[in-house]
Symmetry: C2
DNA sequence: ACCCTCATGTAACTTGTTACATGATTGA
DNA sequence: TCAATCATGTAACAAGTTACATGAGGGT
């Protein structure tokens, strides 16, 4: 029971009170690169967090707008968040990757099929990388440590480097396949 | 319903008949870098695969050894495997990373805590990278395409590049934290 | 008329983990 | 004697996805 979603939510609420809807929007922005959850997971988790006394909420009856529940972190929640932030945890197992599983079984497809798979993956990853680099332009200079911007900068940098490495790997594989089969492509 | 475990198992059985126990051993070896499952997930999946007609099995009554069920891929299973190998799927969402989530919330910890977290992560990753490089020594020359060794080589290379990028990122963050706080470390 | 954003929730299901359960053989 | 390896399974739970369900307001 890691309860990582719990701490992802507490971390966001520690910065400012938010509704479930706001939280799901946050997960679609910066955090999209390493953590996220759908609203169907967020609402029950907020309910549970309230039962545990980690958050409190007030209902705002919206005039000309839907009602909203604004959640605020409690002292209990803050204490647990700080404890979690300081934890020294084991390295997570390597994340699963369906494309690499396919490549592991490349002996069970033809060379043409392998070549096509590598090419298609390369095109998709190049696009993702381009989008990521646009975001990275926000930080020509690294922000000050101790600010939310610095956390943002760190994870954005990591996403960029991860995608760079993925592209480098794909190029390496394509080069080797082509060396052995110059007739392809 | 991706059923990725189904195809991971079919891919292994396509090479040779195996028992559930053998499959769980495979997941602890090369595949550990991008796919794996515990025996408690493998046995029920094999049962389901047999019901679907993707695999067949024969029971070997072990003399001086426990009984074993040896599973073999069927024509149906092979057909479905080949179809899966050729699929053009969307890019998976970025894998989740608990450490990066912590780093995203680095503004909610002290600079000392941030520095310690980065250092601990760096030590652990360096160890993992060293172990990975030992394995990589098997392939000083890339194997021939169309062999199981080539698939193995590709995913081992990717694991190495991924860890290199992670280490590079950690060094980048540590350098920036130290630049702003020369008194640390 | 139709789709998008705001806003909150539940139900059914898939995927994966931890713990329970059993039992033989081999090596220190 | 104790731990490890071989060998197979189930039960309970946690985590995450997809679909269902409702409803207001604004823009094209």
């Amino acid at each position: 029971m890691m309860r990582t979603l719990k701490f992802a939510i507490l971390g966001l609420l520690h910065r400012a009170p938010l509704t479930g809807y706001d939280i799901s929007k946050e997960f679609e922005k910066d955090l999209v690169n390493f953590w996220y959850a759908k609203h169907s997971q967020i609402y029950p988790e907020l309910k549970r967090l309230a039962e545990e006394g980690c958050v409190s909420f007030s209902v705002e009856n919206g005039v000309e707008k839907p009602d909203r529940k604004v959640y605020t972190i409690t002292e209990t929640g803050e204490r647990q968040l700080l404890e979690w932030l300081a934890r020294d945890e084991e390295l997570e197992p390597t994340p699963k990757d369906v494309f690499k599983l396919r490549m592991y079984f490349s002996d069970e497809m033809s060379e043409e099929e392998l070549w096509e798979q590598l090419n298609r993956q390369y095109q998709k990853r190049k696009l993702k990388y381009a989008r990521l680099q646009e975001f990275a332009r926000r930080y020509e200079e690294p922000p000050e440590t101790g600010t939310a911007a610095f956390g943002d900068y760190m994870v954005l940098t990591s996403a960029n480097m991860r995608e760079e490495a993925y592209l480098k790997w794909l190029r390496h594989c394509m080069k080797e396949v082509k060396r052995q089969h110059p007739e392809l492509g």
